[in-house]
Every structure is written in C-alpha cells, then in structure tokens.
C-alpha cells in the first residue's frame, strides 16, 4: 500500500511536481502516464527516497519515507530511468552486491537469485561483465536489481525503453506476472503499454495529476460510448428534430453547407441500422457516418493539450463530449 499525500517539489522557480496525491492498493499495477518532463521521474525519485519533497508525505506500507527511511526503503525495489549498473562488475557480482546492501541473508540468496534469473531471463549472461551487455540485457539486469529481496512494492521508471519489440512484449508479460505478487508502479509514455499492463492509470501533466482512472472502466466506457459521428446537409434544427431521441450534439460545420453531429445511444446496442432507417424515412442525405471509439490516445492528447483539472475526470455514463 502506497500513500502519496500533497507531494510538491520545487526547483528554484520551477514547480516540477505540484500537489500530487494518490493511493495505490496492494497488488495493483498502476501506470504513470505523461509527456516528457511532466514530473513522472521526479515523483518516483521522491517516492523511493532518492530526493526529498519540498512538501508532502510518502508512506510505503505505513512507513514514512523520511521518518523511517530504512524500513520504508526495504519495501521498495526501484528501477530508475537509467539502470544503476556498475559497468566493470559481472552480473552475478553485481547482484550479490545488491543482495548485500539490501540485507538479503546468505542462505536465501542462491535460491532467490536463481528465481530472479528465471523471471528476467538473464541466466545465460550471469558471468558476463555488465559494460559488454546489450541495452536490452542491461535493462533486464536493472529489473533483476529491483527484484532482489522481492520487495512488496516495485517502482519501474520506463522499464521498456530501449528494448526491441519482442523484448517489450516479454517485459510486459514479466511485469504482469510480477503484479500478481507485488504492487507495481510503472511510468511510460507509451499508451498501449500502460493500457495493456495496468489496472489503474494516472495521467500527469505539468506536475499535476490530470486524470485518474481504472483501465476496466475505461474499456467499458469506450465501448459503451456507441457514438456516431454524422454529417448531413440539412439545416441544423431539422436534424436536431429528426434525431431527437439520440440527443444529438452539434459538432461544427466542417464543410460548407453541411452539419456535423454526434449521436449518442443510451442503451448498449448497435444503433447504426436505426439511424440508417430514420435517415431514409426523412429523406436525409447522409454524407458521413462513422462510429467514434474513444481511445486512451484521445484522452491523453486531450489532457496534455488542454488545461485539464482533476474535477473533469471523464464520467463513465457516456455523456462526455468526444
């Protein structure tokens, strides 16, 4: 369980993180999403005790990161954006050193390291010197380092950066698997990744939390919203009257003399046929007829392009304008 309360970090005049609060329950996988420089890494660095906050608290399993740093840090495995590797060490030497500083007892060490080797698949490079490894392997050794001691909480800063597509898929599988035993927080600016892996999504922009949502709700929401974008060349008020039961929303005049509407259907059922029939009955020439699926990408772009506040969280009843 991670509790972040009113976290603020100010560098000189620059506010990197602005009053962020959220709670992550046990066994959840939470994705931090945001453009570069949004404050994801800073937030993670504060949560792991690498840097301090200007204001606010972080509690990891009930231990405050400032008041009881050693106990709190014992609960965390952290993979920073650059994996913290000693280039001149061998992989096994390095992981043994990490075991030492994390206080893993000698008798448990062998089994634990073997398990980690299997999870991140680095058994074959165990004896290699780290500086000679490829980027993908380094990233995996970095993840292995975070796993040492199997801490309750894993904080992974862009874990798939620099991996090839196959490795990205493998890494996602690994993270999903880890999510069954650990609480995982990962950051990314790859939307599909967060959508595929996480239970919850927190979108950060300009140091503030713009949106918090559950991926499940979001999936329902995008399919619930059986929206149709509709273009016809009759006067607006006439179209409004014809489609009264769909509660049309005027969406501008993209092409001269035509009108764009968004049509919503309350019930979760395909209404395309119905719309076609109504149009035919009313002799309405349809110029465009297109279902709109609300994707995470739409939400993300909307959030980072506009001044978006936490109160504007998308409602799940499908009334949101798209």
């Amino acid at each position: 369980m991670i509790e972040v309360k009113n976290l603020t970090k100010v560098y000189g005049r620059n506010v990197a993180v602005d009053n962020i609060s959220f709670v992550v329950g046990d066994g959840e996988i939470v994705g931090f999403l945001g453009p570069n420089g949004a404050g994801k890494t800073t937030t993670m660095n504060i949560m792991t005790g690498y840097i301090s906050a200007t204001k606010g608290d972080v509690d990891i399993n009930g231990y405050n990161i400032l008041k009881e740093p050693e106990k709190a840090k014992k609960q965390i495995g952290y993979l920073p954006d650059t994996p913290p590797l000693y280039g001149d060490m061998r992989v096994c030497e390095y992981l043994n050193f990490v075991c030492d500083i994390k206080g893993v007892s000698k008798d448990k060490r062998k089994d634990m390291l073997n398990e980690i080797y299997n999870i991140v698949k680095i058994k074959d490079v165990e004896k290699r010197v780290i500086k000679n490894l490829s980027k993908g392997y380094r990233q995996r050794v970095g993840l292995a380092q975070a796993l040492v001691g199997f801490p309750d909480v894993l904080i992974l800063d862009e874990p798939t950066v620099g991996l090839d597509p196959k490795q990205i898929i493998e890494m996602r599988e690994v993270i999903k698997e880890l999510g069954q035993r650990h609480t995982v927080i990962l950051s990314s600016h790859i939307l599909s990744e967060v959508n595929a892996v996480c239970d919850k999504i927190i979108i950060i922009n300009n140091g503030k939390i713009a949106v918090k949502l559950n991926t499940k709700d979001f999936e329902n929401m995008s399919s619930d919203l059986f929206n149709i974008r509709f273009k016809a060349n009759k006067p607006a008020d006439e179209i409004l009257r014809i489609f009264e039961k769909f509660k049309p929303v005027y969406n501008g005049e993209e092409e001269k003399g035509t009108f764009d509407f968004l049509l919503y259907k309350e019930e979760k059922k395909d209404c395309r046929e119905e719309i076609f029939n109504i149009s035919a009955e009313n002799n309405l020439p349809v110029l465009m007829f297109k279902p709109v699926i609300f994707s995470l990408e739409d939400l993300f772009l909307k959030v980072i392009n506009e001044d978006y506040s936490e109160n504007d969280i998308i409602t799940t009843n499908g009334k949101e304008e798209v």
Binding site: T48, Y50, K73, I76, P80, T82, Y86, D88, V98, I101
Partner: protein, 287 residues
C-alpha cells in the same frame, strides 16, 4: 557498510587504480629506501618516510577521485541512496576501502626496516610510531580526497581538486609563516570568516534577514572583544590555519612519541571531512 567496503575494494583490484596506486607507492618508497638507507648507509627509516610525502600529491587523487564522482556519472548513486542503508555507512565504507589500500601499501614498505635490521640496528619503536603517524596522515588526506570527489561527477576535476588540496595542505607550514600575526589583520580575517559563514547560512536557508542579523551580531561581538582586549587576536590566522596543517602533527610520531592529542587530532580531522561529505550528499538530495 561491509557491502560498500567490499565492493570498493573489489573495484580497486578489478580496475587498474588499485594496482597503479600500490605499484607507484612501493616503487617510490623503494627508491628513497635505496637512496637514503642503502646508498647513504643510514638506518633511520623515519626520515625516509618524510621524503615520500610529495608522492601523496599524485597518489591520493588516484585513490579517491573515482569514489563518488563515478557513482554519480554511472547513476549508481540512485541504487545506493534508495537502498535501506544510511549515507554514513556508504561514506564510511568507501573511506575504509581507500584507507585499506593505503594500509596495504604501507604494510609492504614496512618490510624495508625489517630487511635493514638484518644488517644494522633499527629503532623499531620509533619506526613503528612513524608508520602509525604516516598511515594517519595518509588517511586524513584520503578523507579530503573523498570529500572533493563528492563535489563533482567528473573524475578529472576530482583528481585536480584533490591535487590542489593536498598541495595546499602539504605547503601549509610555509603559508602559516608568511601570514601576518598582528591583531588587526587577524580581526579582519575573522570578519571575513564570519561573512563567509553568513553566506553559507544564506545559501542554506535562503533567508536574508537571518543571515544579515547573524553576521551583524557576530561582527559587533568581535569588535567588542577587539576593543576590550586585542591580544586575543594575536596570530589568530596562523592558529586557525594550523588546524589544517596535517604535516605539523606528524612531528611527534616522527620523534617516536605517542601523543594522544595527535591521534585525536587526526581522528577528528578525518571525522570532520567525512561529516562534511555526508552532509553534502544529504543536502544535495534535499535541495
């Protein structure tokens, strides 16, 4: 602490730096040994040791330049500071590792007087005392190098900085002698120190009122003391700088005298620099 200590020792002997240090250390000592003791027919090894001080200029940076600079460059400091281990343990671990490599070198050169004892008389008590002082002196310089290494993420800058600091410390005796010792210059010097402290206070708290009030109160108090009895200020500059004169405190060891005060001096000198190192790290993370 053990973990960091072991890792640092491992790095010294996994990269070249440990071997470079030990190789040059023993080579230079052996050179002076052969010139002074063997060539000169002199059985006093203590004086030979004092000749080797100048090699600290090069060899201390070799030992210390990497310690923190490389951690920051490789970003491995993130691993250290997010691990359940205190900064003190990290700093101590690194210091003891560097001091151990220095101790290994000193132990090898300690064979020279033993070899000599087969051919002549060697005063072992004095030699031992001299070696102890030699080790403490080296450890004190290592603590300075460790501190400089934490100030930068560039090994070259750390090395040059350490070179300059060791140079300054070894030259301290000469510098002290050239300082004016009249009360007025000392008072000016003290005022400058007060202003410097207020500046540090300001950069730490960003509170200009507190730092100005602090410096005004201190300077007024100083002026009061000066007007009341200016003999307090006599040769104050020399006395202050003497604290840094690590070589000065070596003298009693050189003469074969164990002075507790000198051992305490070296220990506290080392402690002060390790403390400043820990604080610099903490402060950077709090900024």
């Amino acid at each position: 602490m053990n973990a960091v200590f072991k890792k640092e020792l491992h790095t010294y002997f996994n990269t070249l730096s440990g071997y470079v240090f030990l190789g040059f250390f023993v080579l230079i000592n052996a050179y002076f040994f052969s010139q002074i003791n063997i060539g000169g027919g002199n059985s006093d090894y203590s004086s030979t040791l004092t000749y080797t001080f100048s090699m600290f200029l090069i060899l201390i940076p070799v030992l210390t330049m990497r310690l923190f600079a490389e951690e920051v460059r490789q970003r491995t400091d993130q691993l250290l500071y997010t691990s359940p281990i205190s900064v003190w343990k990290i700093v101590f671990g690194k210091f003891f590792a560097a001091a151990s490599v220095f101790l290994i070198g000193t132990a090898v050169t300690a064979l020279f007087p033993v070899i000599m004892s087969y051919y002549g008389e060697v005063n072992f008590t004095q030699t031992f005392s001299c070696f102890l002082g030699y080790f403490l002196l080296g450890a004190a310089l290592i603590s300075v190098g460790l501190f400089i290494s934490v100030l930068t993420d560039n090994q070259i800058i750390a090395a040059v900085g350490t070179f300059a600091a060791v140079f300054f410390i070894l030259m301290m005796d000469g510098i002290i002698k050239s300082m004016p010792d009249d009360p007025f210059s000392s008072a000016v010097f003290t005022a400058m120190v007060i202003i410097f402290i207020s500046f540090v206070l300001y950069s730490g708290t960003k509170n200009i009122i507190v730092s100005v009030i602090f410096s005004v109160i201190c300077i007024v108090a100083e002026a009061g003391v000066y007007l009341y009895d200016n003999s307090v200020f006599e040769s104050l500059i020399a006395k202050t700088l003497e604290w840094f004169s690590v070589v000065n405190h070596f003298e009693s060891f050189y003469m074969g005298i164990f002075k507790l005060s000198d051992i305490v001096y070296y220990s506290s000198f080392i402690f002060v620099f390790l403390y400043v190192t820990v604080n610099t790290i903490e402060k950077r993370r709090w900024r």
